[in-house]
Symmetry: C2
Subunit: 171 residues, 2 copies
Amino acid sequence: MPQTHPPDCPGCAAPDLAFAAHDHAHCAADALARAEAVTAANNSRLTPVRRRVLEILLEDHRALGAYDVLARLAADGFGNQPPVAYRALEFLVEQGLAHRIQRLNAFTACAHPGEAHAPAFLICRACHSVAEAEAAPAREALDREAGRLGFAIERTTLEALGLCPSCKAAA
Amino acid sequence: MPQTHPPDCPGCAAPDLAFAAHDHAHCAADALARAEAVTAANNSRLTPVRRRVLEILLEDHRALGAYDVLARLAADGFGNQPPVAYRALEFLVEQGLAHRIQRLNAFTACAHPGEAHAPAFLICRACHSVAEAEAAPAREALDREAGRLGFAIERTTLEALGLCPSCKAAA
DNA sequence: CTTGACCTGTTATGATATTACATACATAGA
DNA sequence: TCTATGTATGTAATATCATAACAGGTCAAG
Ligand SMILES: [Zn+2]
Ligand SMILES: [Zn+2]
Ligand SMILES: [Zn+2]
Ligand SMILES: [Zn+2]
């Protein structure tokens, strides 16, 4: 059940960014609680497999391949055939609780579950962490270019590869 | 060899856009001529396989999977193992003569070979045609968002799915 | 208790991509 | 000309990613 926690919660106060230092235990617990709320509101069910997949994705701000997820599931006693993982991942993506990263053929937990958002992804090529950035400005720019060609955009894939702050500092 | 043609060429005068009506034979021939020039300038070689792959990609403004390309190559008497296609495609991408479309796991000929450009791709979900749009404005918007998080973008994948002008009209 | 919707498990297969090694070809010295 | 070298191509084998099709289980509405 979505356990409420104080609005001045220090975990929440930290910028909810993958790259910023933050209380990740809180970050993950909060995302799970939100997931419960989202699925309840949608009349869909966060079953044990689905919940476990989300927990696995929430372990850190990275993207995991379907087969990596599957291996973890199998170790936990769930089915170990690809559809088990793919179906749960598909469900989470539909519910807005996870995102697919095209460049990586992999999936990452949503950093803002429950909030309508069209994310752009920032992927560190060194440490492989993934953060969500606001996509709206880029999307608007694309809409303008597309409009010029008479093209009506419905969905966008915006992904950037580069160096996160710490890896940049290290280099 | 890149055969020159008049600067007032009607093919060139038409907007070089996948969605606009244009003299595609000229479009493809010109791209091929530019490819010769680009590879010559780079001291790289547009060998028969590579050239044939480019011709195949240039047949229309769509994206083709590596195995589709491979089937065509095999039919032409070239090797019929995956690396034959993947290597030629990789070469073309490196030379800026083709682009990879992540969403489709497929490749498309570059519409502006020889010109430095960072394209965004507009993919029609109905007729599967692919056009290149100017990515710079969207890229700048992304750079701003990324900069806010301390992330240094090196490369972007900008792809939009939607309806091209004619498919939109048909619907 | 039966029905129907949905979820999970499994088998089998399809689609995409790479590694490793062998062979052929170009071309630049000797 | 004749090798030496780098580069390109061919092929076998394998790795990785993804879906189709069907069987059985769960659960709540009727
Ligand atoms: Zn976190
Ligand atoms: Zn990093
Ligand atoms: Zn054309
Ligand atoms: Zn179309």
